[in-house]
């Protein structure tokens, strides 16, 4: 009987293993629109797992913030390069430092200027070191100073560094490979004006 059961189980699974996705299913998947409705069920983890994950992240974030507060007194009072405020996220974010430009000083009509010189060292990989967001050139591996437009921020969510625009939109994640456009400033730093994700 034991042999029969195992033989039949093997045969049943072999039979199932011959199943192939129908062409209609392949077409349906290809037809998924680029923009689909957002879902609050990240990765389809289910309500219980999701609740546990959210609680865990909130708890860890609270511990980190409390530790920072005890050690430094405040996490929001530093000057440039500053510890930048973050926008709302699905999980509690941890701020990263990021070099940014100072406050606006020209009238709005000046805002159309955007130098597009390509960043010399080539594509950079988004990464983090300690509490700082860094951009490592793929070829040289040597970090050079980049300055982002005013209002750009960095943060860590779920262990992944994110670069955000002033409006709070995520423009790049840790690990992304970016082509940068912009220009050199008088201090030798490269001032970023445009980015293109060449490899997510």
């Amino acid at each position: 009987m034991k042999g029969d059961f195992e033989d039949e189980l093997g045969a049943l699974m072999s039979e199932k293993a011959r199943l192939q996705a129908p062409a209609a299913l392949r077409l349906r998947v290809s037809a998924i629109p680029d923009k689909v409705a957002p879902s609050d069920d990240r990765l389809g983890l289910g309500a219980t797992t999701r609740a546990i994950a959210v609680c865990s992240v909130v708890l860890v974030a609270a511990i980190v913030v409390a530790s920072a507060w005890l050690r430094f007194g405040s996490v929001s009072g530093a000057a440039t390069p500053s510890t930048l405020p973050t926008t709302a996220a699905s999980t509690a974010p941890i701020p990263l430092t990021l070099d940014t430009e100072a406050e606006w000083s020209l009238p709005p009509s000046a805002g159309l200027i955007c130098p597009q010189a390509r960043y010399g060292p080539g594509p950079v990989r988004v990464a983090k070191t300690g509490s700082a967001m860094v951009f490592i050139p793929r070829v040289t591996g040597v970090e050079e100073r980049l300055v982002w437009p005013h209002g750009y921020t960095g943060r860590v969510v779920d262990g992944i560094a994110q670069l955000l625009s002033p409006s709070g939109q995520i423009v790049a994640h840790e690990g992304d490979l970016l082509e940068l456009g912009g220009g050199l400033g008088p201090d030798g730093a490269f001032y970023v004006c445009s980015i293109e994700i060449v490899q997510p």
Partner: protein, 192 residues
């Protein structure tokens, strides 16, 4: 010499809009390539778990939509297979929870005793016994014996510890064997 302040003012929308189209296209290409490669595997897994090929198609499609919706959360494409497996497992689990056992009971009730007797025999009885297992037991049986995954891989896909996987496999096999043997005995009695 560039005008730094002017660049900064330009910042937000220029940066975001200039890269977004290329970014979406690149991501879409990767999603398409990786998902299509996994469709056969995802489909046969879903069909085995759900016991219905139409339902399996819907489940895999739902899983693909979820995968695309959360594509930004996938940091390493090398991990795509495990990541997508996990989504498929969760979609199938959700569908089974929603449907309860109604689908299976209905499909069995639709078959007359005569049809059962004329079916493909022992394998069909085993398939029916598999259909009677709990959702978690079906999932571990399919991942182990259909997908040939290790205990650690199953733990990764199902989000439980290895010890729990071993325990589930043990009890699932025991239950499956019991159901199969009971069906065999029942069949033997009806033959006499």
């Amino acid at each position: 010499m560039m005008n730094r302040t002017a660049v900064a003012r330009r910042g937000d929308d220029a940066l975001v809009t200039s890269d977004s189209t290329a970014s979406v296209a690149t991501a879409r290409d990767a999603f398409e390539r990786l998902t299509q490669r996994q469709l056969d595997r995802a489909y046969r897994f879903a069909a085995t778990i759900l016991g219905d090929e139409e339902e399996a198609q819907d489940a895999v499609h739902d899983a693909a939509v979820r995968a695309w919706t959360h594509w930004a959360g996938l940091r390493e494409t090398d991990r795509f297979d495990a990541w997508f497996d996990r989504i498929v497992v969760n979609v199938c689990r959700d569908r089974l929870r929603q449907a309860g056992s109604r689908r299976w009971m209905a499909s069995l009730d639709e078959r007359s005793g005569q049809e059962v007797a004329e079916s493909t025999g022992d394998r069909d009885l085993l398939a029916r016994a598999l259909a009677q297992l709990s959702t978690d037991h079906k999932i571990v049986i399919a991942l182990k014996f259909l997908e040939d995954q290790s205990v650690e891989e199953i733990a990764d896909r199902t989000g439980v510890r290895s010890g729990t996987v071993k325990s589930r496999l043990h009890y699932a096999l025991r239950e499956l064997r019991a159901g199969y043997e009971a069906a065999l005995r029942s069949g033997s009695r009806s033959d006499t």
